[in-house]
Every structure is written in structure tokens, then in C-alpha cells.
Symmetry: C2
Subunit: 365 residues, 2 copies
């Protein structure tokens, strides 16, 4: 893959905060961005000159968009696969649309992860209420029913504590094709954010430990409080997955760290074929951010060697929490990010704060 | 001054790399930016949604621009004073247009600096060739003739090594009203970047040591290799100047550090009423950048307490030097910024690189 020249245009499908931060990182490197989104009030639109507001099914708009872009990427994995395929007929789309097809479906994703040589939680496909009853009998309770498609931040999920919850759970997921997952009594949740270039080079950020509230990421702590061998295994596992995808770009893999003496020390929970909330700390906490790494990977530029500035705490500002931004502004060592999303809704990610502590790990000159 | 809400629109006069980096910093804080520039191919336009391409003399365009902005600032000090005044009739303009009037004229600026209680190099006003002859007799040679207005990066300057150079020098400055400055055999050049809020609070970045090539800034090294007492005096001197201006925003003051045992250890060379090239290191080298500090000051937000990540070297990529950007991309600890300016001209600032070395000064949690 020959590198793009500075000044080239990068297309981004989706206009949320991830698209916004991708565009800001691309601008630092001298690239231009073109945002494609169906929503005219998306927050990424304020930081780019070029935009297309159209449905993902609007083939003419997709073609005009593709004609303006030297490479196209996405800020979220639920971009319709057909749209990504259409674009890939006109210009380069990275990561490959085939990755979307796999990661848009929990069942297909988990099968893929296992085939790549990584562990997942136990799961059983559930296509109807009868399947659910059978699966519950096999898996036992507690268990979690999750739709195969379009779930995020705890949406499309129902916890089942006894077989009598089955009907309610089936209703909660709207009777959609689902999987039943075994409940994992894990020690902590971590994620690895890694970049892979088209020539197979991989660079990972330090492992993040993630704390959720109401199924939404609240804090990321870096480095994660895990042993070096678990951290190494987590990174190598992401390497196996990325290689199996022949992935180009930044990939995030969420994992459970099991309690001591469990059969499998690490289990993959979810793959995000994109920049990820648990990597936001890299903007202020490292010399190269996940957003810049993604832009470097998809433009054929060399991946950077990020150096972390210290111990990091990233805090999401969710819903009305954003109203406390003035307190954070006054905190030394804290950097505040607000996404300019307008309306505050419960559970909506409105901004984040990165705090950098302690001495850094920067080599002497 | 009551603080603006996130989502408010900040107007920026000028669309070069400083406007671009101001807009990127404003975006992180959730503000929108509107760029006003006479030049349709300016590089800041690619990172904003709102723009006005019009002459600074276009009063109707200025008024439409002002009506869209909750506060207006400038990325360079040669914005016509009349334009800033016109805007200030409609909305808040910061720093105050009166600051422009002073800093656009070297003679007025130097008088102001002295009155504020800081030293400058010796200078004599020169309005005609006869003035120049008289000034040379008084000052002696070597000396430097500089136009009072519109000089930057060594433009509008002529060094005079003997009185016989006078006619040539007068021609070089185009016979414009000028000053003759005494030649200073200084030890090093430094600058202080400081932010002042409307309530008089001031926060300075660590002093930068600046190295020029062909009158253009080439490198900034932080911290400067000067004693603590000189650094303290430099910062306090900038405080006196900012207070004299009743300044709001980021201000840069370039100074000469004299050789040991000189009468005056510090002499102010130039004031820039704006973010400054010698402060670019703050984007990657500190928790809060000069661009963010400026945005905070002009929006009435609290100034941040920037913490430096380590020892810093900033390198400008000037003219064809930008073609080496791929080498910099591979250097661990280096962060590359490209301005997407298109045409490469000799002496044109095309990008910069920040390198962070050694341990940082971040307090323990």
C-alpha cells in the first residue's frame, strides 16, 4: 500500500465523537476529512469542511463521497455492510468491509474469535423462544441474553437469573436472533487497543482497565492492575485476532480477566473494529493517540511508537455529568474534552477527562 | 466577564496555521469556530464548518461575521485595526483592539514596553533618509533598520554595518517609517508565553529558548538554559506588560538574554499579542496547550495549570524541510504536525515536530 500524501482526503462514515476525534487527529497530520452521516446535527460535522448528509442506502451519495476520498474508514461498526461494499468498489475502504460483516453479529464474531485461537465466554445461538429454553437448560443461570446485532452500551441485553425470566428476556430483546452467554464472575475488565498496518506491523497501547456503570464505560485506568504475563497474553491474543482479520487500522478488544486459578485467564468479550472509548486516554496520555495511529494505518503511513506520559485515569462525562466540566477545568493535570453534542440525554457520552499522574516513561535523549 | 457556554461560536480573524491550531483546541473544549479570512485557500478553513471569505475592509461581511460569534479573536497582529474596531461595536473582541494598535507599530510598542517598566534595545525613530543619517551617528554601527509596521520573520529589516550602507538599507525598507535599533550582542533568545484572564489571573508556560535560522524560528528548547532568577524576571516582566495592556488571552514576549555583567540582563525584542510559534511545544509537551489557554481566556473559562511532560525540543519544518516528515514519523517520542498549506515556498512554515525527552514533572496522585 503506497502512502497517501499530506493533503489527501479521508472519508469517515459516521459523525459522532469518534469521527470528530479522528478528524481532529487527521488534521494535525495535514489530512482533510469528509464526513458521511445521515444526521445533520452530528458533532463531527463542526470540525470538517467537507460533508455529505445522506442515508447509508443512498447509492448516488455514496458514490459522490467515494469519488472525493482517497481512503474511507468508519467510526462505528454498525455502518451497513452494503454501504461499505458499495464504497469499496470505488475507493479503498479500511478496515476491510468483511470485518464489519463479522463484528456486526455477536455469534459470527465469537465463532471467529475462537477460530483465531482466543477464548470467549460460553455462548449458544438462540433463534426462537424454544431455543432459549433449551439453551438455559444447557447453560444454567445466571446467564445473559444478547441480540446478535446492533447492541451497544448494554442495549439489547437481558440478564436471566432463573428460567422463569426467559419470557421477559425474550421480549426485552424484541424476539430478535440472539445468543445466550454464560455469566462470568470475572476479576476485572480490560481492553487492548492495537494498530495494525497493511504490511502486518502491529503496535499496541498499554492495557487499560475499564470500569462500567449501567453497562456504560465510566473509567479507564492505565496501566491495568494485572501481571505482566497477563498483559503480554492479552496483547498477543489481539495480535492473533488482528492477523486473522488481515486487519488495517486500530482495533479494540475488550476482555475479562478471570479470577485466580480459572481455566482460562482471559476471555474475549467484544471486538470493536475501530477506535474505542477505552483508548481516549491516549490523546493526552501518550505521544501518539489511538486516533492518529488509526489515521497512520489507513493512509499507509508508518505506525508511531506511543510513549505513555504517566499513570492515567480517563473519566467519561455521561449525561448530566457534563455539567460539572468547570470543576474539571480547574484540576491540574486534567484535560477536558467536550463533544459539542447539544442535547443532554441520560447515558449519552458528552465528553471525557484525562488525568495524568506520576513520572513518565520517556527515554533520556 | 461571564463564561461562554460550550457550543458557543468563537470567531477567528486569519486562517493560517495559528488559526487552525486555535480552532482544533477550541473543538476539544466543545466550541465551534468561524474563520474570517480574505484568502480562500487558507489552511484553517479545512477544520471548521463556518467561514467567511472576505476582505478586512468589507464592513457588511464583518457585521455578518460578528453576528454569528459570541467572541472574536485574531491569529495574527496585522489584522487592520479598523476591522477589529468595527467588530468590537457588535460583539466582544479579545484581546482588545487597542492592543493591536500598539503592537502593529514597533515604535509605539517599544515606547509602551519601556513605560510598562521593561527594558528594550536602544532605538531611534527614522522617518526619512536624513533621520537615518543622524540616528546612525548617534547609535553607531552595527545597527538594524526595521520598518515600524508589517515586519515579521526578518521581512522589512536591513542590517547596517557601516554608515555607507545607509542608502541601501533605506531602499530595503522601502523608505517606510522605521526605527534604527542598536545591535545587541546577546547570549541567547528566549520567549515567555503567558495567558491572562479578564479577572487579572496570569499563568505562564515555562520559558522557551529560541534558535533562529535566516530570521525564522527554527527550534524552541524548553526549559531555556537560563538561571531561575532570570526565568522569574522574564515571567514577571511579561506580567507587567500584560497588566499594562489589561490583556485578555495569550501573549508572547520575545527577549534577549544579555551576556554576563551587562547593564540589563533582559531586553524585550518583540511582543506578539497572540499564540506564538515558540509555544507550539505546549500541544504535545504539556497537559494544556497555549491554544487551549487562549480559548479559555477569551471565553471567560478558568485558565488551566499546564504541567510539562519533560524536556522539550520543537523543530519547525520550513519550506522543503517538510518533505522529510516521514523520517520524523518514525522517531519515538516525536509528534508531527503538518499544516496542509499546499504550496511549498522557501521560508514558509509548513509544519513542526515536538520531541519530549526525560522524566516529566507530574505530581504524584
Amino acid at each position: 500500500m503506497s502512502p497517501l500524501n499530506p493533503g489527501a482526503t479521508i472519508g469517515i462514515l459516521g459523525g459522532g465523537q469518534l469521527g470528530r476525534m479522528l478528524a481532529l487527529a487527521a488534521a494535525r497530520l495535514g489530512f482533510q476529512c469528509h464526513i458521511f452521516t445521515p444526521m445533520a446535527d452530528d458533532c463531527a460535522l463542526a470540525v470538517v469542511e467537507k460533508k455529505t448528509i445522506a442515508a447509508y442506502s443512498d447509492v448516488a451519495a455514496l458514490r459522490r463521497f467515494a469519488a472525493d476520498c482517497q481512503v474511507i474508514t468508519y467510526e462505528f461498526e454498525n455502518v451497513p455492510h452494503a454501504a461499505a461494499l458499495e464504497l469499496s468498489r470505488c475507493t479503498r475502504v479500511l478496515p476491510d468491509p468483511g470485518v464489519l460483516e463479522i463484528t456486526q453479529d455477536r455469534l459470527v464474531e465469537k465463532d471467529f474469535v475462537r477460530k483465531a485461537g482466543a477464548e470467549t465466554t460460553a455462548y449458544i445461538a438462540v433463534d426462537c423462544e424454544a431455543d432459549l429454553a433449551a439453551a438455559l437448560q444447557e447453560m444454567g443461570t445466571p446467564a445473559i441474553l444478547k441480540t446478535r446485532r446492533m447492541g451497544y452500551d448494554g442495549k439489547g441485553q437481558a440478564k436471566i437469573t432463573s428460567p422463569t425470566d426467559a419470557a421477559d428476556a425474550w421480549q426485552t430483546v424484541g424476539g430478535a436472533p440472539s445468543i445466550l452467554e454464560g455469566f462470568v464472575d470475572f476479576e476485572r475488565e480490560i481492553s487492548v487497543i492495537a494498530a495494525r498496518s497493511s504490511d502486518g506491523n502491529m503496535v499496541s497501547f498499554d492495557v487499560s482497565e475499564n470500569q462500567h456503570q449501567n453497562h456504560i464505560l465510566k473509567n479507564s485506568l492505565v496501566p491495568a492492575n494485572i501481571s505482566e504475563s497477563i498483559a503480554d497474553e492479552a496483547v498477543s491474543l489481539v495480535g492473533r485476532i488482528a492477523t486473522a482479520f488481515d486487519y488495517v487500522g486500530v482495533l479494540a478488544v475488550e476482555m475479562f480477566v478471570s479470577k485466580p486459578n480459572s481455566k482460562h485467564p482471559l476471555m474475549v468479550n467484544e471486538i470493536a473494529p475501530r477506535v474505542h472509548n477505552s483508548g481516549h486516554w491516549t490523546i493526552d496520555g501518550a505521544t501518539i493517540s489511538q486516533f492518529e495511529q488509526h489515521i497512520r494505518a489507513i493512509t499507509g503511513w508508518p505506525l508511531g511508537s506511543p510513549i505513555r506520559h504517566g499513570r492515567i485515569e480517563m473519566t467519561n462525562l455521561i449525561g448530566t455529568e457534563v455539567e460539572s466540566y468547570q470543576d474539571w477545568l480547574n484540576l491540574p493535570g486534567a484535560t477536558v474534552h467536550l463533544y459539542d453534542k447539544g442535547t443532554i440525554n441520560p447515558g449519552r457520552k458528552m465528553g471525557h477527562v484525562t488525568q495524568v499522574f506520576e513520572s513518565c516513561e520517556i527515554p533520556a535523549a
